[in-house]
Symmetry: D2
Subunit: 370 residues, 4 copies
Amino acid sequence: MSGSIYGKIFSISTWGESHGEGYGVVIDGCPAGLAIDEGLIQQYLNRRKPGRTKYSTPRKEEDKVRILSGVFEGKTTGTPISMIVFNENQRSSDYSEIASYYRPGHADYTYDMKYGFRDYRGGGRSSGRETISRVAAGAIAVSILKELGIQVYAYTKSIGPVTIDYHNCRREYSLNDPLCMPDPEASRKAEQYIMEKHEEQDSVGGVIECIVTGMPPGIGEPVFDKLDAALSKAVMSIGAVKGVEIGDGFLVAARTGSENNDPFAYDNDKRLIKLTNHAGGILGGLSDGSEIIIRAAVKPTASIGKPQRTANKNNENIEIKIVGRHDPIIVPRAVVVVEAMTAITLVDFLFQGMTSQMDRIKDFYNRIRK
Amino acid sequence: MSGSIYGKIFSISTWGESHGEGYGVVIDGCPAGLAIDEGLIQQYLNRRKPGRTKYSTPRKEEDKVRILSGVFEGKTTGTPISMIVFNENQRSSDYSEIASYYRPGHADYTYDMKYGFRDYRGGGRSSGRETISRVAAGAIAVSILKELGIQVYAYTKSIGPVTIDYHNCRREYSLNDPLCMPDPEASRKAEQYIMEKHEEQDSVGGVIECIVTGMPPGIGEPVFDKLDAALSKAVMSIGAVKGVEIGDGFLVAARTGSENNDPFAYDNDKRLIKLTNHAGGILGGLSDGSEIIIRAAVKPTASIGKPQRTANKNNENIEIKIVGRHDPIIVPRAVVVVEAMTAITLVDFLFQGMTSQMDRIKDFYNRIRK
Amino acid sequence: MSGSIYGKIFSISTWGESHGEGYGVVIDGCPAGLAIDEGLIQQYLNRRKPGRTKYSTPRKEEDKVRILSGVFEGKTTGTPISMIVFNENQRSSDYSEIASYYRPGHADYTYDMKYGFRDYRGGGRSSGRETISRVAAGAIAVSILKELGIQVYAYTKSIGPVTIDYHNCRREYSLNDPLCMPDPEASRKAEQYIMEKHEEQDSVGGVIECIVTGMPPGIGEPVFDKLDAALSKAVMSIGAVKGVEIGDGFLVAARTGSENNDPFAYDNDKRLIKLTNHAGGILGGLSDGSEIIIRAAVKPTASIGKPQRTANKNNENIEIKIVGRHDPIIVPRAVVVVEAMTAITLVDFLFQGMTSQMDRIKDFYNRIRK
Amino acid sequence: MSGSIYGKIFSISTWGESHGEGYGVVIDGCPAGLAIDEGLIQQYLNRRKPGRTKYSTPRKEEDKVRILSGVFEGKTTGTPISMIVFNENQRSSDYSEIASYYRPGHADYTYDMKYGFRDYRGGGRSSGRETISRVAAGAIAVSILKELGIQVYAYTKSIGPVTIDYHNCRREYSLNDPLCMPDPEASRKAEQYIMEKHEEQDSVGGVIECIVTGMPPGIGEPVFDKLDAALSKAVMSIGAVKGVEIGDGFLVAARTGSENNDPFAYDNDKRLIKLTNHAGGILGGLSDGSEIIIRAAVKPTASIGKPQRTANKNNENIEIKIVGRHDPIIVPRAVVVVEAMTAITLVDFLFQGMTSQMDRIKDFYNRIRK
């Protein structure tokens, strides 16, 4: 396991390079009897496809998914689910020059140091296309969560200087917005900003927020496998993410305890709730029944047309312009990836969460036996 | 493995509760031949002890470590290292009332939901004392890193509104500063601020920064086990942490690519360096040879004397004041925990990093055979 | 994880050396609410203690267990259970000469090759006393199985040339028999045989059989984590075991399909049963509801008084006599270890087995929510 | 991870069903720079293909492998290697009746119990064709071992009553023998025996032995991850295996210590050797530098034409004859699977074995830095 396998019980194993045969994922640990089809997976894959905005890379990537195993007569069988998306339209010729130098902000240099050998065509394994595998698996995780009454929703919270306030927004809107923003006004401003920077041959970053509703309380594991720790890893493992927050995140550093603590209270139906949710739905590493809130800072696309200084492999300091088709922003396409990684992580923890009480285990097996 | 085991090759397994017999850790995967003694571990444990500032909890915790296995004649044997710190001075009586309600900001409610059963004395497993095990293991990880020429250094970057600029500071100073700040002026102001809030029976938060020097490039694994993803999990797994950043973190969201990319260049000695380090020493999930920079947002102590609303177990909404001895700030004591978790994670990845190239493996075994 | 951690959900982490401070185990993943006490663990530990037969090593080892965490008011809390047995009566002086040469049948040479450094006093980590940790954890696993209606029973099937037929025997007898045989006649003959060999300063081996009743069908995982594969590893990991069989084991190699297949049939109560059990209760790696049968071949004690040829560390071929107190047979003391390893493995697989069907998971969480 | 992922550092994740789209494997953790091509993998796959003997199933399975990722310009890149073999010639119609009852010796019943839902066409995931994935991965493991000077060789040791003595045989012969026996005389007799049983519409079993030469000493991990324990699991996880032995295996149970201990000695070149090898190359769970010897008992094919009693899903006891094309013996086709599982396990342990000594780790990183 050198980094391409994720999850303890609901495990995914991914493979693929940007200019190889394609991308794929094998899910081991999906329960039997879940209704699943290629159409459902495809919907999620379409959300991460390029070409949705006028700025995004004009490469036509079909990214048609094919399920190769683990599904029989429309339902999962409990055995590994293998999915594949064949690469199309990959022109290696674009990358011949790139192989000679180290692109700033890319993994060219670090891959060379690690492997001593690299598939230099378009980033190889470090390409953003690697997230195809995550999203395909994420679609299945989302289906499992739906069966358990849990929703995962991510959206673009900010692009460059344009930030939106989620509470003024409509979720449904963001699903059709080219920038995945739930606020048309903010989306227009952000579009303007991207346009400007794009014309300067530059790129922009932003923030993605993900909200989970319907989680039962008590999910997560104490100490190292806290639910927030696991979600941080999940989200930080997405290529361009440089920061992660749970609930109010970095704001808590300047707060006092009396400002930051969320009071518990019984509501009118005598159900225990929290009156505020600074904690973002997790206390002591376990879900507390309120909304789980995660935020990710996404860096601007590393590939830019603007001239940059860098070093080549002949010991020379040079200036480069990266030509070719590159998105001026990663954020909108990463929204579904954040959803996917969150969903996969939650499923794994919900499955692990079934053995925390002896009585529940006993009850489970008593039901099976009769 | 329900959350108390961490690490793939260099693995630690921790145990203990705040009012049980003590805390301990078993390290499996420490190489043989490392010089180690209890004094070295004790140094690290002393850095997390309470009572260093006038505000911190006056409990006298000796926290004397004892090594029970894995070390023979002053050197590790390669077999599991078991360390134990017996609890002393734990008065259960303090906690009798607490058991009847859910403290805001604590894990009382979520533990009840998960386990249906809780050691209510002082937080049980969710107590901050759990980090004793991490620090003991961290001291050994730091020793391994030292052998490999790698240093891990953490310090208090901000407390409430007081933030320092690391580049104006002296590292050595922070080791003796009661707040672990490397800037005496900032430390004084922060002390003032804590004092104020303490008198209001409130608590404060802050930010810890951790800097790693001497890492060889190419360490980390692609995709899910990126070094930054692993460090995020490591740091977010520490009790009060609510946000994690690598390098410039959330600042990158408002940057352009040309501002954010770090140019590569050859220095005068023809060594490849990066001219800036916005990336925080990690590219594509692999170390790039420059300083690794991690930041953690730490929330204010949840236990405060100020009156708070909450719910008890009799379906009543009540008001409480948490009495007893509680630190008004967690930050300074968590600094060494951040160092420990970083060091443990780096050791695990350095060990994993030995099998990335066939030639290196071949060379390794050829040397052993002859 | 370098070999001393075992189990995926119900995980045990063991430590200790024969002449160190003691032995211990940390269990991570034991559910909350299980009634447990030191007396129950002690019963199991007493079954592996030396000194039960006249031939066994006269060392007085008290092996008193102490539970340090994870149990509160007589019940498990769901957090790690740490148990410790302090060493007593270890005389290092016995082992001073041994350090200079490689004992045949022992791990002296291989540990030197692996670690370059060894705690030479009495075998260090490779000593049979390491099984203390397994048995302590096994006692807890057995308690969990009992809650689920599952029994694990092991006994001595053969010693040297003396083999018993299990179907003629009474289980209860074996628990008090010094050789753990359920047949007094066979036990007497075996005792005679051991006596003879003991007088020749030699040692003897034997076979242990373990039988599991009450397992629900469908437990195990396909392909690599077949239940029989996991049990084989569990049992083969016990020091002196050199062979493992499931059901009829090696006998099947000389059978035909029509002889070896177990017919399915409905019994008078219309329950599905197997008419024979050559398969030993496992089909396709999953439990089939009939008795699970495992057998282990245990080699004769490697330490013998009889003169043996070997090599020392000064490049000389020498002749040695191993003096000191050594059991002429390992088998009876290993019986409880086989039970322990089987129980630990079954618990881990029963816990893993809760997520194989979507409907069951849904039902589980629906019950928790209401 | 529900059973289809294997290995800690050199990890394989397999997928596929007998009547699905095909079979595949993803290897995560293969080092970069290893020369590999489809031809090499194909050679191994051809050894497990049916149709080599006159008795074997006449199905024409091409089993053409395709490498989809992880290899660039003839060398591994260090990223996941995905391989696929598309199914051909699978006639589902053959299996329509089979779905209505539980075949003796098969996993029909246990899969139903576990998953509540089954791909009934030809065994689904429990089909012997699953080993395609293992063999493809095994071919790569063998290539790695070859680079390290290690050979793995398996052969048919017995079929029914016909047993051969390995020391009288020539290895090369077995590679071309249809029964994988290194002794033409025994092979002829075994063929005769199979023929007889085949005519009676019955099937036969046998024993496979696997020998590893060139292993450096000290490989393996103490306690639970002993090399022999891991190899037992590896081999027992192959469908029809019911027993595993290391070295002299079950014979040791009737031996004395003086007969069973292998004396160490210096040979004429002053190298330390063992004068005998009853232990099968492993002491204390670690390789001792001599040949590693593993044996597996393989049951007769469960599918037989002879009438058998069994139960159907309508609560009836019935008699069945399994028609269709079935091999009367599994053994010769499983030989390469035993080699594959052994090779994969050894690679994983050799990789794990690089961090046992601090000095070696230090030396490794010193070399990389300069």
